[in-house]
């Protein structure tokens, strides 16, 4: 399945958002959105991924 993660295309085998984070080795403090909608951490395991989904994975960064 092809999805877009943080703007770049990837071929992934995960079928849920939680599975995707695991597959990508992302264990830190992040927030997620799929197709421009926020997906809280508690709902990642039950959030299915579909071909063409746009996933944003955001982390704490410097800001003004």
């Amino acid at each position: 399945m092809k999805i877009v993660i943080n703007g770049a295309p990837y071929e992934v085998s995960a079928t849920t958002l939680a599975g995707l984070l695991q597959e990508r080795g992302i264990a830190g403090r992040v927030a997620t959105a799929v197709n421009e909608e926020f997906v809280p951490a508690g709902l990642r395991a039950s959030h299915p991924l579909r071909d063409g989904d746009r996933v944003e994975i955001l982390a704490p960064m410097q800001g003004g």
Binding site: E56, P60, G64
Partner: protein
């Protein structure tokens, strides 16, 4: 000192965390100056996991965390970013930025009011980056904001307070509301001026981070803010056009 959504600031300097020459200098700028609040952001996580290291350092500073919605241009984008920030940073505080103009980074106050209402209803405590417009200020308060953050000058411009007349009017119009000058500060004298006007805090980033010596500049800002605050409390004199002798005239020797 006024409370910000029930929280007293340890120090009225809200300091940004971006653009420092190194994480070590950023950390030292906070530790040495004693800035009370750190503004932070959310960005795409790279493979290297830079976010985790940054977050650990910020947490160890022990300062209050104010996440922003920097770079958002629509209500939806800002609201979604705020929700993501609340989860990551574990705070209801959000510095709401809704940019309306690319060159000046002037806030889009129409969308700002709308987003502030949505976020307040969602349980956020909104710190809106706004202009000095009094009616917008009223609308933001009506939307549920308990803090207003008018700009001094465009973000990163270092021009200081562009419109002291309007900022003074804003202070007079909202005497009970915590007011923060957010953006445009370039020098400690600008920060002092904001506090002399009776503002409750100053939020700045570039002026410190891009200074030749950010640590020294952060300290200078804190001292200027403290001086300005003391001056405001001390009830300064009014400026006048003509001289008024300070040395008593009575008792002066006749020697002419």
């Amino acid at each position: 000192m006024k409370r910000f959504y029930g929280t007293e600031l340890p120090n009225p300097l809200m300091l940004g965390t971006a653009q420092y020459p190194s994480p070590a200098i950023l950390e030292q700028a906070f530790r040495t100056s004693g800035a009370g609040v750190a503004t932070v952001s959310l960005r795409r996580e790279g493979a290297e996991g830079a976010g985790a290291a940054f977050w650990k350092m910020i947490q160890e500073l022990g300062v209050l965390i104010l996440p922003n919605t920097a770079g958002c241009h629509t209500v939806k984008e800002a609201v979604t970013t705020a929700h993501m920030a609340r989860e990551v940073f574990d705070t209801r505080w959000i510095k709401l930025e809704l940019i309306g103009h690319t060159d000046s980074l002037q806030p889009d106050v129409f969308q700002l009011v709308e987003a502030a209402k949505v976020l307040t209803e969602d349980g956020f405590q909104v710190f809106p980056y706004t202009t000095e417009d009094l009616i917008v200020g009223e609308r933001l308060l009506a939307a549920g904001c308990e803090v207003l953050m008018p700009w001094g000058a465009p973000i990163g411009s270092g021009r200081g307070l562009n419109n002291t007349y309007a900022l003074r009017a804003m202070r007079a119009e909202f005497p009970e509301v915590p007011l923060v000058i957010d953006a445009g500060i370039g020098l400690p004298s600008h920060a002092a001026q904001a506090m002399e006007l009776g503002y409750d805090a100053v939020l700045l980033n570039t002026a410190v981070a891009r200074a030749g010596d950010p640590v020294a500049m952060a300290c200078a800002m804190v001292r200027a803010i403290e001086a300005g605050r003391l001056a405001h409390e001390a009830d300064p004199i009014e400026a006048r056009d003509m001289a008024e002798a300070s040395t008593p005239v009575i008792g002066k020797a006749f020697l002419a």
